[in-house]
């Protein structure tokens, strides 16, 4: 199980307002799939234009990145810079 954290905006839009979730899966792809089974529609949103922080390390375009049991996985708005 990974500890998934959604922003309030994502949570309100897709997850009944719940920001924290225990989700099975050993990669970001698996977590998104499991979340989409609980909250249909969230998978598409979390697959695009979103950055993922795994244990504090921010990943761009995360998909196959491995996730350890107990890892903190946060989905946040995509980041660009100047």
């Amino acid at each position: 199980m990974a500890h998934v954290v959604l922003t309030y905006s994502f949570a309100r839009q897709f997850a009944d307002g719940r920001t924290e979730h225990e989700v099975p899966g050993n990669s970001v792809r698996h977590l998104i799939r499991a979340l989409d089974e609980r909250y249909p529609g969230i998978g598409a949103r979390l697959s695009n234009d979103v950055a993922v922080a795994i244990d504090g390390v921010i990943h761009q375009n995360a998909f196959l990145e491995p996730v350890e049991p107990g890892s903190e996985v946060c989905f946040i708005p995509a980041l660009q810079g100047g």
Partner: protein
């Protein structure tokens, strides 16, 4: 400091492109020409908001010397959805309308048509012959006005994303965001000191000295070559291929040398237009914006309103903080309100936080990225309020920040828990700096502020080739804006164990290296640097294999050390080390050319923090602020080329001083920009600034072999608040609106009795 010792990393050699740039040999966007090229020019809307009822180009097209005319009808309609273009997620419906207005002109300067002609004079004459019938609509410029009920609506289809329940009401608010942690009400209930203020910032332009310029050559067989001054030629390819339905393999883009970008050259304006004109005319088309066009039709970053409230206990512990940020995005949605919200309180370990953001359209040019997009706006408000809390608690402003500083293990309000970060070390370095320890000269006051930026990674490709003489070419695909050629060459030299001078970094066109994401997000030295290191490591494996063949031993019996292949132990046999040049000279006999390649999606860009200290004086009669001393302290991970890292810090401060003290767009009652030039849009010049001092703190990023963190964006985050805090201490007047220009500061000082202000 990192404590690691490198041979080349951390040295300060001249940049490989330096001689070309100081002798005028380097070729920037407007320096490229082709035989028979035409001059392209754009007709721009004189109205801030107007329906385009008709465009008649017949007279322009009939003018001798005019070879092509385009309007929005020459660009395919695009879907209203977010799609990847050159790895950027964009709404192509909006992008194509920004490149060329379709149903409406949405800002003064919005492109409505373009021509290509044999001379600039004929092109200008042709523009005057284009007849556009407008129906002028009410307009709205400022973000607060655009959010009000009854404001002129820019896009009838726009609805606010992120509302629960969803709203079906036409609006200028494109998005609502919310981030939170803890219990904000309980936190403020514990607070013994609560400070609340409302702030504003003005939109500011990136102010790159080189205007947008491009040259397009479309051949009859469909192949297209394009030269562009850009921060990302792969993004130019991506945007143009999407907007014009061209296969990416048909479009070859070369990034010219670039005279500044700062985020403003990560999008396209002229490039699709030049390609379409070239396709229609059958000749190359060159387009160069005037400075007036740069101001009216490109960039800037958002202006906004920010309400901040911070609560602390008397011992200096911040227990609650909230803020509401509304940023104008210009004519189409897409302000950096997300990063603004996330950066707002990122410097602090606070249990209870709530941040709400709004993305708001108005009749201004669509905003583009500008160094740490959104972060400086939030920091202006938050760091000013932190200073007020320090004043209320009678605490040293650095001590207050140290007491509440984020560190490894701090859970941010936007979700992630920080890994290794260097804010505490940076605050300590600021506190111990010669500047902060110095006494203030009479008539001067001191301000301090901190700042945060994520830094990003992303896709990069690199190759390393060994020439027959053992010198090395390192090829990567990011335009060099801040000295990245030097940084990449230093990392290649360090990895390979050869002198820096033996490594030549090259930035080819989009057909000659794999994909590279933009030069932006402070990513190149980190992400493309990682690709270069991996490409060199790939090459080293081949060099070891070639040595093994020559010595007739197993490849794992060979090590690479200080630029030589050596036996891994005496058991392997007695062999003289083989140099890179020796191995290269025998490459043909041992398997052919020796090249290394790497491609990756770099993860784990280390966040950056900065702390700035400024001493300044205020002329109470004129409101003129003189920056007397300025020090930027920053965690830079590892300074690969310290001089260019210092240059990034100094450049960020210089732009921040302009943002703080002078820069703003001035519109007339009809929504027309009145100061579209450097004479009236006042950016700092050398005589406005002291020598900016820097302190480089090195807390290595564990996700990079040399500890690299991005450095280019953090330094523009703290200056506005640092200067505002110093002005408050100098005058007793707390400024809440940017810029703190002489007229505005003078008026604020006049509004307060001098004796009271002095108290």
């Amino acid at each position: 400091m990192s404590g690691q010792r490198y041979k080349w990393i951390g040295t300060r050699p001249n940049r490989p492109d330096g001689a070309h740039k100081v002798t005028g040999r380097a070729r920037f966007g407007a320096d490229f020409n082709m035989p028979g090229q035409l001059v392209g020019k754009v007709l721009r809307s004189p109205h801030a908001h107007a329906l385009i009822k008709s465009i008649d180009t017949s007279k322009a097209a009939a003018l001798p010397g005019v070879k092509a005319v385009v309007t929005s009808g020459d660009f395919p309609e695009q879907p209203d959805q977010i799609v990847p273009a050159g790895e950027m997620q964009v709404n192509l419906r909006d992008v194509t309308r920004n490149v060329m207005a379709r149903e409406k002109a949405l800002y003064d300067g919005h492109a409505v048509a373009a021509v290509a002609a044999t001379t600039a004079e004929i092109a200008a004459e042709a523009l005057a012959l284009i007849e556009v019938e407008y129906e002028v609509l009410p307009h709205v410029i400022d973000v607060a006005a655009a959010m009000r009920d009854g404001a002129p609506i820019l896009h009838d289809h726009l609805r606010t994303e992120g509302l629960t329940p969803p709203s079906n009401k036409p609006t200028n608010i494109a998005k609502r965001l919310e981030f939170a942690k803890g219990d904000i009400a309980a936190g403020f209930a514990r607070a013994e000191v609560v400070i609340e203020r409302d702030y504003t910032t003005a939109p500011v332009h990136q102010g790159y000295i080189e205007p947008h310029a491009t040259l397009a050559s479309a051949a009859e067989d469909g192949q297209i070559q394009l030269w562009s001054t850009t921060q990302g030629h792969f993004q130019v390819r991506g945007f143009c291929s999407r907007l014009l339905n061209i296969e990416t393999s048909q479009l070859r883009v070369t990034a010219t040398e670039i005279g500044g970008g700062f985020g403003g050259k990560t999008v396209v304006y002229l490039e699709p237009v030049a390609i379409r004109l070239s396709q229609k005319a059958g000749k190359p088309v060159k387009m160069v914006m005037s400075r007036d066009e740069v101001f009216r039709a490109s960039g800037p970053t958002s202006g906004g309103t920010i309400k901040v409230r911070i609560g602390a206990t008397r011992d200096g512990r911040i227990v609650a903080a909230d803020c509401t940020v509304a940023l104008q995005s210009g004519a189409f949605p897409g302000s950096p309100v997300g990063p603004a919200c996330m950066c707002s309180f990122a410097c602090y370990d606070i249990d209870n936080i709530k941040v709400v953001g709004f993305d708001v359209v108005s009749n201004r040019p669509k905003v583009a990225a500008y160094r740490a997009p959104g972060a400086p706006i939030a920091a202006w408000a938050v760091e000013s309020t932190i200073d007020l809390v320090a004043e209320a608690l009678h605490m040293d402003p650095i001590e207050l920040r140290l007491k509440n500083a984020a560190k490894k293990g701090t859970k941010t309000h936007y979700g992630p828990t920080f890994n290794v970060i260097g804010l505490v070390e940076t605050l300590q370095a600021a506190k111990n700096s010669a500047h902060y320890k110095s006494s203030l000269a009479p008539g001067r006051a001191r301000g301090v502020a901190a700042g945060f930026w994520f830094n990003v990674g992303g896709d990069s490709s690199a190759a390393a080739h060994v020439g027959e003489d053992g010198t090395v070419t390192v090829i990567s695909g990011n335009p060099d804006i801040g000295g990245s050629r030097a940084s990449l060459a230093l990392m290649a030299a360090e990895t390979l164990g050869v002198p820096y001078e033996k490594v030549r970094p090259v930035i080819p066109d989009t057909s000659s290296i794999g994909f590279n994401f933009v030069t932006g997000g402070s990513r190149v030295t980190f992400a493309t640097g990682l690709a270069v290191v991996n490409a060199v490591r790939d090459m080293i494996e081949q060099l070891k294999a070639r040595a093994a063949k020559i010595w007739e031993v197993e490849p794992d019996a060979v090590i690479w050390e200080d630029g030589y292949a050596k036996p891994s132990s005496s058991n392997v046999g007695k062999f003289e080390p083989l140099s890179l040049a020796q191995l290269a000279s025998q490459a043909g006999k041992t398997g052919g050319p020796i090249n290394g390649h790497a491609q990756l999606n770099a993860q784990g860009a280390g966040p950056g923090f900065g702390v700035h200290i400024v001493d300044l004086a205020v002329d109470r009669d004129t409101g003129i602020v003189t920056i007397e001393r300025y020090t930027a302290v920053q965690d830079v991970g590892t300074a690969i080329h310290p001089a260019y890292v210092e240059g990034q810090l100094q450049g960020g401060v210089a732009q921040g001083v302009g943002w703080a003290l002078n820069e703003e767009y001035i519109y007339d009652a009809k929504g027309r920009l009145q100061n579209a030039g450097f004479l009236d849009y006042r950016m700092p010049v050398a005589s406005d600034l002291p020598m900016i001092e820097t302190v480089l703190v090195e807390v290595p990023n564990p996700s990079h072999p040399y500890g690299v963190r991005g450095v280019g964006e953090v330094p523009i985050v703290p200056p506005m608040a640092a200067i505002g805090n110093a002005i408050a201490r100098a005058t007793g007047v707390r400024m809440i609106d940017l810029p703190m220009s002489p007229p505005r500061l003078s008026a604020a000082l006049d509004a307060v009795p001098r004796k009271l202000a002095a108290e």
